[in-house]
Symmetry: C2
Subunit: 208 residues, 2 copies
């Protein structure tokens, strides 16, 4: 099937949302934990998380101000802090359930049974059940063309189980049980195929 | 293992690159096809592809101007067009090999054996071997804090095999054989777990 832009614009809303959201491939779906200035917690599932740099370690998240993510953005603006927590099969249903539009006075931690975990006195809660988690401090906000906000942040703490950390710094996300997502509502586990050597012209690839 | 920012900054470069690049989870790795104004083609593997909006369909890619991706950015600036093409197991080695630093006069299509495919007279080549592919026209560029450039673009054409398109617009990426990546050099296939219903407070999740 070939869709031109004019075809895409004429699709029913729900069909277009599913199509365009699944078009990109698999995403780094995670739970973002925040709190307001009084310590009331919020937890939201996000799949728009991007690597901006390694030195210093910079991450971006994309937030639609009109979406259920708005409490997350309010809290990040108020405190400057948020956590990103990988999702495993054991608590996938709870993770997806955080996308429901709970009223502001209900914490998604309480509603879903996930456990807030505070590390190093940083005011944003992590998810105790997550194997891989990191804490970030907001640096900047950039408004994109359609009103979406790109929040850039610096990694202040990263926690990974020892046995999932390889000798060259690579985190074995398959062993950690980290899941991936596609579209708005589909979740997947992964099978490792290979790690390849740094590619050079006129040299065959080698497994790492 | 717990890494504070000060620990991360003191790590050896290669260890830090592996750690921070794998920290985000799985990514929508794809091949980006471009051409210069004379029609000389370029193909580069990218994992920084983000959904910005569905209506109109907007996509962002993140480019480091000092990296091997610079030919891609030059071509997008020169012609305004690029293609994004999913990666399947059958040509994974060729896809990874496009990350080698070929001289500007060598096309990664020629070097790796992948086949350029032109659709609707748009000047950016797609990858014939890819099952899911889309063509984009650049709208805007945003410079981020560390010199990285976010290119935002509008989808002008999307092509998906009929049998991989579900009745609600969701693309069955598992059936399409689309792969995902982690870190700088690890690739994975996926196993579907579930699609869930739109989450609502006080309602159990249902499979779609």
């Amino acid at each position: 099937m070939k869709f031109k832009l004019s075809d895409i614009l004429e699709l029913p809303d729900r069909y277009r949302r599913n199509l365009i959201n699944s078009m990109h491939g698999f995403k780094s779906v995670s739970l973002i934990g925040t709190a307001d200035v009084e310590g009331n917690t919020n937890l939201a599932i996000f799949s728009q998380i991007i690597h901006i740099g390694a030195n210093p370690p910079l991450v971006g998240i994309l937030v639609r101000p009109d979406s259920v993510d708005r409490h997350t953005l309010q809290n990040i603006r108020a405190t400057g802090w948020f956590s990103i927590n990988h999702i495993q099969r054991e608590f996938l249903e709870a993770a997806h359930q955080t996308s429901a539009r709970y009223p502001q006075n209900i914490s998604e931690f309480d509603a879903t049974g996930l456990t807030p975990e505070y590390i190093d006195d940083i005011p944003a809660p992590c998810v105790l059940e997550s194997q891989v988690k990191y804490l970030l401090e907001k640096l900047d906000e950039t408004l994109l063309i359609n009103g979406t906000v790109l929040v850039t942040a610096k990694v202040k703490m990263l926690q990974v189980p020892d046995e999932m950390l390889q000798t060259d710094g690579f985190i074995d996300l398959h062993q950690a049980g980290t899941l991936t997502s596609a579209g708005l509502d589909a979740y997947y586990s992964v099978n490792p195929i290979a790690r390849f050597s740094y590619a050079k012209p006129d040299q065959p690839l080698l497994p790492v």
